[in-house]
């Protein structure tokens, strides 16, 4: 059995707590996480996969396997890539309902707003919204 959304979030909170208040090491860590995202296919780097509302470019695609939603994403900035890698770690490979019900408390707990500033926080909210929209679409299809 995979870890639950809650367990993964708590794991992330633990990791970030080790970094403490040092903003620089936190940012380096986020960028490092972004570097570990799987390669994003060049053919998917197209306008319709861009998430609206992000200041930097973020591409997001999904596929469904065994009733689970899998996300793949990329960004032109390393910090944003790191942020979306956290969301993918929490939400990818879940059932649509789990994604829709997810309360993503880890974002506040790790002090993301202070780290990335208000403009990127809006971008992060746009990413979450888009991921939930995909989940809703799959759920509707599964229930059809």
């Amino acid at each position: 059995m995979n870890s639950s959304i809650k367990e993964i979030q708590d794991e992330i909170i633990d990791e970030f707590s080790i970094l403490g208040d040092d903003k620089e090491s936190t940012i380096f860590y986020i960028m490092e996480l972004g570097g570990k995202l799987p390669e994003f296919p060049e053919k998917d780097r197209v306008e319709e996969n861009i998430i609206k509302g992000c200041q930097s470019k973020v591409w997001l695609t999904t596929k469904e396997e065994n009733d689970q939603v899998h996300f793949l994403a990329d960004s032109n900035t390393d910090i944003t890539k790191g942020l979306i890698s956290l969301l993918i770690r929490v939400l990818s490979g879940r059932k649509p309902k789990e994604i829709l019900d997810a309360d993503l408390y880890f974002i506040d707990k790790i002090g993301m707003g202070n780290i990335i500033g208000s403009q990127r926080s809006n971008g992060l909210a746009a990413m979450i919204k888009q991921m939930k929209l995909y989940a809703l679409a799959y759920q509707t299809k599964q229930n059809a």
């Binding site: 208040d21 040092d22 903003k23 620089e24 936190t26 940012i27 380096f28 960028m31 200041q55 930097s56 032109n76 900035t77 390393d78 910090i79 944003t80 990335i116 500033g117």
Partner: protein
């Protein structure tokens, strides 16, 4: 020339004395807005504590005092840019509104189908969009002067674009994104030969360079108080009297009228014709302290200090592997625009901020300029009179650390 006592100057700026993310604040976002000296901050408070009153028609002592202080700033500004008379100084919300005012009044009245408006590739959006709007409405055509790789205007191309169709040349004096100082005197002369009117966007130049509107012979000059150590939300439009007089009003309301009846309204004299409604009294009064601050130091001394910082920064940054300068014009104000090989400017900006260093990142409201260089944006450090070499050392050591991530 006396060199400046920077420590003493810094003591006048309360905001500089703080830590950001556990590091001493290094404020290098001066092209976006400068910090304010105590004299300006105190003047704002004192106005509300002692003098607050509506100006120009009050029959009481406070109103008279507020009016006097308000008009004193106009006189100080007249001297600051060497206008012929006080009434050529109009208060606006900022450079953007000043440009919009000219486009909506002068532009609407005098431009027609087929006329041409000339701007450059390095204009701020505020000196592009109002003209595009005017072109849509009037059928005039927008022409753009190209620039070279270093970020300088290609003068021969500019001359080729000038013709008797050119009705307005709207040109930035110093580029906010690159720092390039344009040869505006020569450009104005060339434009005048064709009978064009010239609007100078002085948002970035007024804090660094001597400006003499009579010597330059520009028809309009636009600038903002907040980039000149003054309050936000306040700007200036200088215009030659003969033009301001024939331009229709910008907005209707109080202050701008001579007489109102339901049959006909007559308009006030300049500058009041363009200052409808209760103006930004407190900020105008405080702005005078900012002008005094600059005058006391002297623009030559300010420029010398900033030039030294610019040279020092460019030399140090150029040693860093992965440093890519953007804009290497021969004549520049104290702006360093750059990228780090393999990195997005946003990421560089966030990491500098983690080290207490405030810079601007992005397209700097000059998207066509960024497109010219094939860039999404840059990191921009811009220096002011209170900055020091030690602060530049701090930035350089942070940039070294950041650049190493992708440039081993």
């Amino acid at each position: 020339m006396m060199s400046l006592n920077v420590e003493k100057i810094r003591a006048e700026f309360p905001v500089l004395h703080q830590e950001v993310n556990g590091k001493p604040l290094v404020y290098f976002d001066n092209a976006a807005t400068t910090q304010k000296p105590k004299s300006v901050i105190d003047a704002l408070g004192n106005y509300y504590k002692l003098d607050n009153s509506n100006i120009h028609r009050g029959a009481h002592t406070l109103a008279d005092r507020a009016t006097r202080y308000f008009e004193d700033t106009r006189t100080a500004l007249k001297a600051f840019i060497n206008a012929k008379e006080d009434s050529e100084i109009i208060f606006t919300k900022g450079t953007t509104e000043s440009i919009n005012l000219v486009a909506s009044t002068f532009g609407r009245k005098f431009l027609k189908q087929g006329d041409e408006i000339l701007i450059s590739t390095m204009e701020h959006h505020a000196n592009i969009v109002p003209w595009q709007m005017l072109c849509e409405e009037s059928g005039a055509v927008l022409k753009v002067i190209p620039i070279d790789e270093s970020g300088e205007i290609i003068f021969e191309e500019f001359e080729k674009l000038l013709s008797e169709k050119t009705k307005i040349l709207a040109i930035v004096h110093a580029s906010n994104a690159l720092g390039t100082i344009n040869p505006v005197k020569e450009m104005i002369q060339a434009a005048k030969k064709q009978g064009a009117k010239v609007l100078l966007d002085g948002a970035q130049s007024t804090s660094h360079l001597h400006i003499d509107v009579q010597e330059l012979d520009c028809d309009f000059l636009c600038f903002s108080a907040h980039k000149l150590f003054g309050p936000t939300g306040l700007g200036v439009l200088y215009g030659k009297r003969e033009l301001l007089e024939v331009m229709p009003p910008y907005q209707g309301g109080g202050e701008m009228i001579k007489e109102v009846s339901f049959d006909k309204t007559t308009y006030n004299e300049i500058p009041f014709k363009f200052e409808a409604g209760t103006p930004n009294i407190a900020d105008v009064i405080a702005f005078k302290k900012a002008i005094e601050f600059i005058n006391t130091l002297g623009k030559d001394a300010i420029k010398q200090h900033e030039d030294a910082l610019l040279d020092y920064a460019v030399n140090a940054l150029s040693e860093i592997k992965g440093f890519i300068p953007v804009g290497t014009a021969r004549d520049k104000v104290s702006v360093v625009s750059f990228n780090i090989n393999g990195m997005h400017p946003f990421d560089v900006g966030v990491m500098l901020d983690a080290n207490g260093i405030a810079v601007r990142t992005g397209h700097h409201c000059t998207q066509p300029l960024m497109q010219r260089f094939g860039l999404e944006g840059t990191v921009r450090a811009s220096f002011s009179v209170y900055n020091t070499q030690t602060e530049i050392d701090q930035m350089v050591s942070s940039v070294i650390k950041i650049a190493k991530i992708k440039n081993k």
